[in-house]
Symmetry: C2
Subunit: 302 residues, 2 copies
């Protein structure tokens, strides 16, 4: 049994993804243990069984870790007891996650959206550490965000705050899955870049290849990627003008492309914020641990 201090807060975080369930123990601001399990593809009850077994295992080794947070990739109901749907997890529609885990664990866990959990993690222990207000933006197959204002997650009236992928940046532009024209994620997500590159090159082109070709100077790929990054940069400049956060933190699969990605976004953000306020953009620091750390922090914040 690992000794845990009585004075430092200790909590457990679980990050439920489409392929893996990650869980770990956060003592103070250190992730002292971390485990991965495959996500069952046989329905939500099997997913809850895995979560419960993992939490029980961690609590046996860390008896002080009573606070448990669970992050899921989807919207929650208003009182954060159910997951409305998580498109990347098989069978995850209207899941009573809090009640289901109470039955299995005999305790109440804290449920959080995974982008909001990552925003909290980066704000407290990652790239936005020491700031009062930050906006975490994840760019991957879709685009999402989490707002942290005065050190706490800002949820909004209906809990949807941070739905950045669905703001309209090009009226009349490509239609998103939500049925809206010109949504940010329909013109700038990894999926959108791959779609446009595949069309322009008349063959299957992945997001990663589109970035490689762009960096090598392929005219069509370069224009496609630059336009996508410009849309993201303009969206950040817009948020600077309306919310004026101290810093933006960008993570997600597409962001792992690195310098080329961040330079393109910063350039547009600078151009569209001049005369107002600088747009400070940082890379996410916690990588794939952000979800577990954020869920563990969410458990402490309640």
């Amino acid at each position: 049994m690992t000794t845990t201090s009585m004075t430092e807060p200790v909590s457990i975080g679980v990050d439920v993804g489409g392929t893996k369930i990650a869980c770990g123990v956060l003592r103070g601001d250190q992730l002292i243990e971390r485990h991965l399990q495959p996500t069952p593809e046989t329905g939500w009850e099997a997913v809850l069984d895995v979560i419960a077994a993992q939490v029980q295992g961690l609590q046996e080794r860390h008896p002080h870790a009573r606070l448990v947070g669970v992050g899921v990739p989807g919207p929650l109901n208003a009182d954060r007891t159910r997951v409305k749907f998580a498109p990347n997890i098989y069978g995850f529609t209207d899941v009573p996650l809090v009640d289901g885990l109470r039955e299995r664990l005999g305790q109440r866990i804290i449920l959080e959206n995974d982008a909001k959990a990552a925003a909290l993690a980066e704000a407290h222990l990652g790239a936005a550490r020491g700031t009062e207000s930050s906006i975490y933006v994840t760019v991957s197959t879709g685009i999402g965000a989490g707002l942290v204002l005065n050190g706490r997650i800002w949820r909004g009236r209906h809990g949807i705050a941070g739905e950045l992928g669905h703001v309209t940046v090009m009226p009349g532009g490509p239609v998103s899955g939500a049925g809206l024209d010109g949504a940010l994620e329909a013109v700038a997500s990894g999926t959108a870049i791959a779609r446009d590159a595949s069309y322009a090159l008349n063959r299957d082109v992945s997001t990663a290849e589109a970035f490689e070709l762009a960096e090598q100077g392929h005219p069509a790929a370069r224009r496609i990627v630059e336009q996508a990054l410009k849309h993201i940069g303009v969206a950040l400049a817009d948020l600077q003008k309306v919310i004026d956060p101290e810093v933006f933190v960008i993570g997600g699969g597409v962001a792992s492309v690195g310098d080329f990605f961040f330079r393109g976004i910063q350039k547009a953000a600078n151009e569209y914020s001049q005369g107002f306020a600088p747009v400070s953009i940082r890379r996410a620091q916690l990588g794939t641990d952000a979800g577990v750390i954020g869920a563990a922090l969410a458990a402490r914040h309640g």
Copy 2:
């Protein structure tokens, strides 16, 4: 001398406009006295003299009204002691308003941007009364906003939060005075509507006339006004997705057009928020008193 209760908060609000300086006494939530003076056009020191004389007059009649707030139509410096510039007031550039009034009045006043003051007034005593979060949007010659989150004005890191008129809604569209293409106020403010209607009709058309013609079914005027209102509605839907406020309150000169204006905005807001959360839009209730009431409330909040 009017008697003022010792238990109810009493404060003075001053709203400095381009043509008029309004001031009044707010006792509890009632504006019990209100005065108007013309704004001097001989420089900022003359403006401060008028403000000071008005405040002194009010304080003679209301000795308990020690808290004074002053609202101005322009951006402030970070510690809210100076007005950076107020384009509609002659000579109002880099004005040390707090120090200048301390010299004249022997007390510290609270300085506030007028849109933020109006947002506070509508949130506490107007159309958004009883809500936790609201966004006040003013549509007149320009477009501005004030965010009230958890009952308090949200300023952001650099104090610019609420610069809604400068978000990009039509990339490549008309260029604003700030030098940015497709800013909301460049496509949807009163000035933008008058500009487009004057061009289309090949004569001088005011914003009011453009709305009249639109309501009468004039094809070009109707399309111009509908497009402007659609841009505003889409912008509100975007803010619903990112900030998710309880309610929007719309005021300003153009909003006084009435039903036609609000219907157009609500229609687009509904269309672009479906599947996310309803966009609740209310008309500002406090009219021209919002500035004075908001400044008086800002004085109490400090």
